[in-house]
């Protein structure tokens, strides 16, 4: 046999062996429904854990595990134990996201994927076409529309003809004692997403009665400025009469917010600072972030950890148990995982004993409950818009305190 072909044949033998291996590895479920047996339901997850950007959502997995563990401790759903496989790491890479989805469905043969939390969701079309109920963090358009995909607190991307969540403007209005005559400056990164954010929030704040004299997507999106003077100067002159606006709203990531807010404070700005990303108790561990974000109002779309209630106590207890009894610092990714699992479990519970994709979908259609950690949930409304609930916390003296308690606000039409 010629040498190159021998090498090629060897590779192929390996490939085929692998394929055969995996073929024999699957199967074994007597039930005709993928991933559902008489006493188990198989569920997988997709989460960005390792990334080159240093941003990780890996605690999502812990949150989901905490919720599934409790469900199993309580006897499972309708007598079926949840077999949670743990989350696949997609590394924020679209092709790995798709591959993870394919692996979960075709190799692991899961019934559902929950949680799915990443900056990319290339696997969405595949999961929807394979009729895999999927629950995750609805920050991407794929959570808005496809029948089998659900956001744990709704679809967070406003679509034309849909609605706009007013939590942020309404909450800030209550901080400022009303929106009338108040001005806000909005700033975002210089890319399409930043532009979209500016567009939506401009509409939202104006609808709530604010003036929006400055709304720009101008900050270089890839190389963070080490000098913010050009931006702060313009912002500080943008308010009525060339003065500073009452509030500066940043729609950017944490490192950018740190830079911008520090620069604003150094320039003597005393107004309100707010952003939607910096609710992370981990930020309190460092002096630099504690100082930079001191006084900042942070928007969140679930119950703050500082709030008290049976659901929150249960959450903390579950997470502690799943973390092996250790007191881990809580973060929003745990909440994402926990509430994704919770939404899946709640719908599956209603689907009854005969759990199939059809029965799950039927149960989802018209599903609603109230008073959860993400407010009042309703499907299929959640596949078109956010549940519309949120709170404002303020970082003060090294700890977060609830500035505006968690509640749900009526949305406005988006267009």
């Amino acid at each position: 046999m010629p040498r190159p072909s021998r090498a090629v044949a060897a590779v192929f033998a390996l490939l085929l062996a692998t394929a055969c291996n995996s073929a024999s590895g699957g199967g074994g479920t007597p039930s005709s429904v993928r991933g559902v047996t008489a006493d188990t339901v198989k569920v997988g997850g997709i989460v960005s854990m390792t990334t080159a950007s240093g941003y990780s959502k890996k605690d999502t997995d812990l949150g989901a595990r905490a919720r599934y563990d409790r469900a199993n401790a309580e006897g499972g759903i309708n007598g079926r134990r949840i077999e949670y496989l743990g989350a696949e790491d997609d590394g924020q890479d679209p092709s790995r996201n798709l591959a993870a989805a394919r692996k979960l469905v075709q190799q692991e043969k899961v019934f559902a994927v929950s949680p799915m939390s990443s900056v990319t969701f290339a696997g969405a079309d595949f999961l929807d076409s394979q009729k895999v109920p999927t629950v995750g963090w609805g920050t991407l358009p794929s959570f808005c529309g496809p029948r089998h995909i659900y956001g744990f607190n709704g679809c967070l991307v406003p679509t034309p003809g849909g609605t706009l969540n007013q939590t942020w403007p309404e909450s800030l209005a209550s901080v400022l004692g009303g929106a009338r005559g108040r001005s806000v400056a909005l700033i975002a990164g210089d890319n399409d997403a930043g532009k979209f954010g500016i567009r939506t929030f401009t509409q939202g704040f104006k609808a709530a009665g604010f003036q929006v004299p400055y709304a720009k997507a101008v900050v270089p999106a890839t190389s963070m400025p080490s000098d913010w003077s050009a931006y702060t100067k313009e912002i500080l002159r943008s308010g009525p009469g060339g003065g500073a606006p009452d509030a500066v709203i940043s729609v950017m990531q944490t490192p950018y917010n740190i830079g911008l807010f520090t620069a604003l404070k150094r320039s003597g700005y005393r107004g309100i600072l707010s952003d939607p990303t910096d609710y992370d108790p981990g930020l309190l561990a460092k002096d630099a972030t504690k100082q930079a974000l001191d006084g900042v109002y942070v928007l969140l779309q679930f119950q703050p950890f500082e709030s008290d209630g049976p659901a929150m106590r249960q959450f903390k207890e579950d997470v502690k148990k799943a973390a092996g009894g250790r007191d881990v610092p809580l973060n929003m990714h745990m909440m994402t995982g926990y509430m994704s699992a919770d939404l899946f479990l709640s719908i599956a519970e209603r689907a009854g004993e005969d759990l199939t994709v059809e029965s799950f979908q039927k149960a989802a259609d018209g599903f609603s409950d109230t008073g959860t950690l993400v407010g009042d949930r309703a499907e299929p409304k959640g596949q078109k818009e956010s549940f519309g609930c949120g709170a404002l916390v303020r970082l003060k003296d090294g700890r977060y305190e609830v500035a505006v308690p968690f509640r749900c606000h009526p949305p406005i039409p988006f267009g």
Binding site: P4, S5, G54, T222, T254, K286
Partner: protein, 978 residues
């Protein structure tokens, strides 16, 4: 106006980090001639180490930073140089670029893996994710001041600024004012020549890498408060800093430093004033890349032929001359097997993965065109993929059928490729790579931010095509279709390569000037290569997107393109079928690793990054290396059976030909049977101490496939052996080699005995004996191609002989490299001018004459040089250059001087002067070996004459016995005019 001043001043502060990174880039690039894509990754690694040691282990900040910057980072640089870059120095620019790209992903992964391991061992490490506001070396949180209205500065910025300024000043002093710096710059100017001067260029390269890594480490530690622990941000920051390095043309530290500061100012000014950019999304973000691209196009000087990387010689084709079945049989079988596998054994999951691999393989084939055929490194292929898929998706959403949309997408990508190519064509090597990278970022940040093209984060749906009964919605059907399509494309590209156009492309690749002279339009050829490649990438992109059934603008970013290049080059970029293998490996291996090898996400990335190491040994990739290594092994086994060693197909390590039976010489094929060994008398007795048996060319004709292509210089050599043989009937007594290597009780200054040497299995010297004593001139005569220069290279230690002895002053020196030989006192004045063109006259002299007195003596003797002290040596006239090369030798005469054609290209009066100087050198006791074609003048200074023809000394004797007229006629033909 107050604003303007504020922007400029605070821009100067914030530009310090750019300046620091750019300075490190300039240093590594000027040391090893490559753009270190991994520079940012090194910075990240140090930031990570600083974070873990400081925040995790609780070490104090400043000592930790110093330890990392002065110890850890340089050690890393030293290790990388020893393991990787030293080996890569000789294998061409593409492999070098790819190796640093591999490190770009491998280094951060290695750091994170280490943290993971430490964590498992229970070390008090901190998580490396989601870390913001990290402390630097200064106080945390930073203290801030407002020295002027509108100008703010904080302690982190101040520390960065001061550290950077100190480092830049220190570097400038090091490079301009110290001997080490002079040697570093000399080795950049001409690495080989530094070796000939007895300066170890490898050591210099290690030092440069240590310095550069130290600078990266410093940047990493200083940038920790700003960038946190994002490897991605460090790399992006590095690319922005590359702009400053370009402004310094990759050689000037002060310019790069100034460029970095200027970049900070520019960003501030754009942020403050360029309100027109508000309308174009992404334009502000893209400013550094616009400047980078413009800087490259405007500032980079032409060095090599436009647009080409180093003309890497292709690997030997061990299947040359074999039939189609032999060449394609295995590949066809593999394709059939793969196609069949889809419908028999593979599970749905693996069918999908294989189909994906095939789709990406088509994208990878585009590298075969632009890099494999055109030797141009394009880092913008991902842009073409995204562009084509977006256009196709947009059109499909408007109701176009799949085929038409795919064609339109392909055309759009091709158009984009032509647009990218136009300004980039005049660039070469790393400049071209950087320019395409800049354009890729521009596309990501501006073009693909256009709302109607990208359709937000939703992107476009790109359903799988359905044609009649064939529904490619099924992964198996798609896989089979892709197998067929790949086969067709491989066939097409292979045909293309063999076509007139393919030959034109290859011609442009290896010698653009010659190609242009033969009527091949260089620009058109390159433009076409780029266009075809972009179109192919676009076509593959549409297919890949239809595998996903959707395309969004962020699916394939500029960084993806970098990784792709590394994957393809690791497999082999010269043949389209290798690209298919690369695609399959890219898709399949990660899953195999995850399933069977390791759970860690970092380990596969590290392994992938280390593929660069493999490139050092097999620069043509594993697909090409595997079979050719096997072929070589088999041939060796066959040869062992017949007692003959055939030349090795790989070009990396020329084999040591079997000593008893050296392979056939170059260019002898047609004449081999007619050629006779020189009469025994022509050869001096072999040295008694020589371990080898007398060497003879193996008798009889050789099989043609064992013979190399004829060398260009060999053809006119035909008459010489006869003439030499005639003269050789009366060998002279003197000058030749005495068997004992000793004459008159004194060892020879330099002695070559029975030396065999050649290049990559093509022997040139075949048993040369030559000896020279101090104060003696041996004139080496012979026609072009006789082996004079090779002999000089062997004498200088540049070329290691494959057989025979080299002795310097009686000591065996056969294992010396050029540096060791130079340190034994053997100097080579190489063909052309032995000077560092980029260094000034003074610096050239200082390299060899450390003492100022010696230099003053030279200036006193040669006022012409004194007058031009600060002038770069490259700007001197030919005669002055030769004077500059010889002057330090006169001042400090070496034991042996080997001069290769010292009179080449000089005016007759200058030649006279040169020979006079050489005579003077001889009178000072130097042993001279003079290789010359201008026999008439040279005979005047010679004591002994040796006639070299076809790699052998066919006659040698004292000058008195060398009949001037007959010599001239016989050896030099029309070379001497009277």
């Amino acid at each position: 106006m107050g604003d303007l001043l504020g922007f400029v001043l605070s821009g100067l502060v914030s530009g310090a980090l750019y300046a620091l990174l750019a300075t490190g880039l300039v240093l590594s690039s000027s040391a090893s001639g490559l753009f270190n894509f991994a520079h940012g990754a090194t910075a990240y690694l140090c930031a990570l180490a600083f974070h873990e040691l400081h925040s995790g282990f609780g070490w104090p900040a400043v000592p930790t930073a110093l330890l990392l910057v002065c110890g850890g980072a340089p050690a890393l640089g030293w290790g990388l140089d020893r393991l990787m870059f030293r080996k890569l120095a000789g294998v061409g620019e593409t492999a070098q670029i790819v190796a640093t790209i591999g490190l770009l992903v491998a280094l951060p992964a290695a750091g994170l893996w280490l943290v993971e391991l430490l964590e498992r061992m229970g070390a008090p490490v901190q998580p490396a994710e989601n870390q913001f506001g990290l402390p630097g070396v200064g106080p945390s949180p930073a203290v801030s001041w407002q020295p002027l209205d509108g100008v703010g500065i904080d302690s982190d910025q101040l520390i960065t600024w001061i550290a950077t300024a100190l480092v830049a000043a220190g570097l400038w002093i090091l490079l301009r004012r110290t001997r080490l710096g002079l040697e570093l710059r000399a080795s950049v100017d001409d690495r080989e020549l530094t070796g000939l001067r007895g300066i170890d260029a490898d050591r210099l390269s290690s030092i440069a890498w240590m310095l550069s890594s130290g600078l990266a480490g410093l940047a990493g530690v200083l940038a920790t408060p700003l960038l946190g622990l994002s490897a991605h941000d460090y790399t992006l920051f590095l690319f922005v800093s590359a702009t400053a390095a370009v402004l310094g043309r990759f050689v000037s530290v002060p310019l790069a430093f100034a460029g970095g500061l200027g970049l900070g100012v520019l960003q501030n000014l754009v942020a403050g004033y360029a309100s027109f950019t508000d309308d174009i999304t992404g334009l502000r973000t893209a400013v550094p890349f616009l400047v980078l691209f413009a800087g490259l196009v405007v500032l980079v000087r032409r060095r090599r032929g436009a647009g080409t990387a180093a003309a890497d010689p292709p690997p030997a084709d061990h299947l040359a001359g074999r039939g189609r079945a032999r060449r394609w049989g295995a590949w066809s079988a593999a394709a059939v097997l793969l196609g069949a596998a889809f419908y028999t054994v593979t599970t749905p999951f693996w069918s999908g993965i294989l189909a994906q691999g095939l789709a990406i393989g088509i994208v990878f084939m585009s590298f075969t065109v632009v890099t494999g055929l055109g030797a141009m490194v394009s880092l913008a292929q991902a842009t073409f993929v995204t562009g084509a898929a977006l256009v196709a998706g947009l059109l499909i959403s408007h109701g176009w059928p799949f085929a038409a949309a795919a064609a339109a997408g392909t055309a759009a990508a091709a158009l984009l490729g032509a647009l990218v190519a136009l300004p980039a064509l005049r660039l070469g090597g790393r400049s071209l790579a950087l320019a395409t990278l800049a354009l890729a970022f521009l596309a990501d940040q501006v073009l693909f931010q256009i709302g109607w093209l990208r359709n937000g984060d939703t992107g476009w749906e790109l359903p799988r095509p359905v044609a009649g009964p064939v529904d490619l919605g099924d992964d198996r059907a798609l896989g089979l279709a892709l197998v067929l399509l790949s086969a067709a494309l491989v066939a097409l590209l292979t045909r293309l390569r063999g076509s007139r156009w393919g030959r034109a492309a290859l011609a442009v690749r290896s010698a653009p000037e010659a190609a242009a002279a033969s009527g091949v339009s260089v620009v058109r050829t390159k433009l076409l290569l780029f266009t075809v490649s972009a179109g192919l990438a676009g076509f593959g992109g549409v297919l890949h997107a239809s595998y996903n059934t959707r395309i969004t603008a962020t699916d394939f970013t500029a960084m993806t393109g970098l990784v792709w290049l590394a994957v393809v080059v690791a497999a082999g970029v010269r043949r389209p079928q290798f690209a298919v293998v690369a695609g399959l490996v890219f898709a399949v291996v990660p899953h195999l690793m995850a399933q069977y090898v390791t759970e860690s996400a970092h380990l596969p990335v590290i392994l992938f990054g280390l593929a660069g190491l493999a490139l050092a040994n097999d620069p043509d990739g594993y697909c090409a290396a595997l079979p050719s290594r096997r072929a070589a092994r088999r041939a060796a086994a066959r040869a062992a059976g017949t007692g003959r060693t055939p030349p090795e197909p790989g070009r990396q390590e020329p084999p040591l030909p079997d000593r008893q039976a050296p392979p056939a010489p170059a260019g002898q094929a047609p004449r081999a049977p007619a050629r006779r060994d020189p009469p025994e008398g022509a050869r001096q007795d072999p040295p008694a101490t020589a371990p080898d048996a007398p060497r003879k060319a193996p008798p009889g004709p050789r099989r043609p496939e064992e013979l190399r292509a004829p060398g260009a210089g060999a053809a006119p050599a035909a008459p010489y052996p006869a003439a030499c043989a005639a003269r050789a009937a009366a060998p002279g007594p003197g000058g030749g080699v005495r068997g004992d290597g000793v004459s008159d009780g004194q060892p020879h200054a330099l002695e070559l005995a029975g030396v065999h040497a050649g290049y990559a299995g093509a022997p040139v010297l075949r048993g040369v004996d030559l000896a020279v004593r101090g104060g003696e001139v041996v004139l080496l005569l012979g026609p072009n191609g006789a082996g004079k220069s090779t002999l000089c290279r062997v004498a200088a230690g540049l070329l290691r002989p494959t057989g025979g002895l080299v002795r310097v002053r009686g000591e065996d020196a056969g294992r010396d490299g050029a540096v060791a030989r130079a340190r034994r006192g053997v100097r080579l004045a190489p063909e052309g001018r032995g000077i560092f063109a980029g260094l000034s006259v003074e610096e050239n002299l200082a390299l060899q004459l450390a003492a100022a007195d010696d230099r003053d003596a030279v200036y006193a003797r040669f006022p012409a040089l004194a007058a031009r002290r600060p002038v770069p040596a490259g700007a001197l006239s030919g005669g002055e250059q030769q004077l500059l090369a010889l002057a330090p030798l006169l001042q400090r005469p070496p034991a042996v001087l080997v001069a290769d054609e010292p009179s080449l290209g000089l005016a007759p009066r200058v030649v006279e002067e040169v020979f006079r100087l050489l005579t003077e050198l001889r009178d000072q006791g130097t042993a001279l070996v003079l290789a010359e074609e201008r026999a008439a003048e040279a005979l005047g200074v010679a004591d002994t004459v040796a006639c070299l023809a076809q790699g052998e000394v066919v006659w040698s004797g004292p000058r008195s016995e060398a009949d001037r007229d007959r010599l001239a006629e016989a050896y030099l033909g029309t070379g001497v005019r009277r």
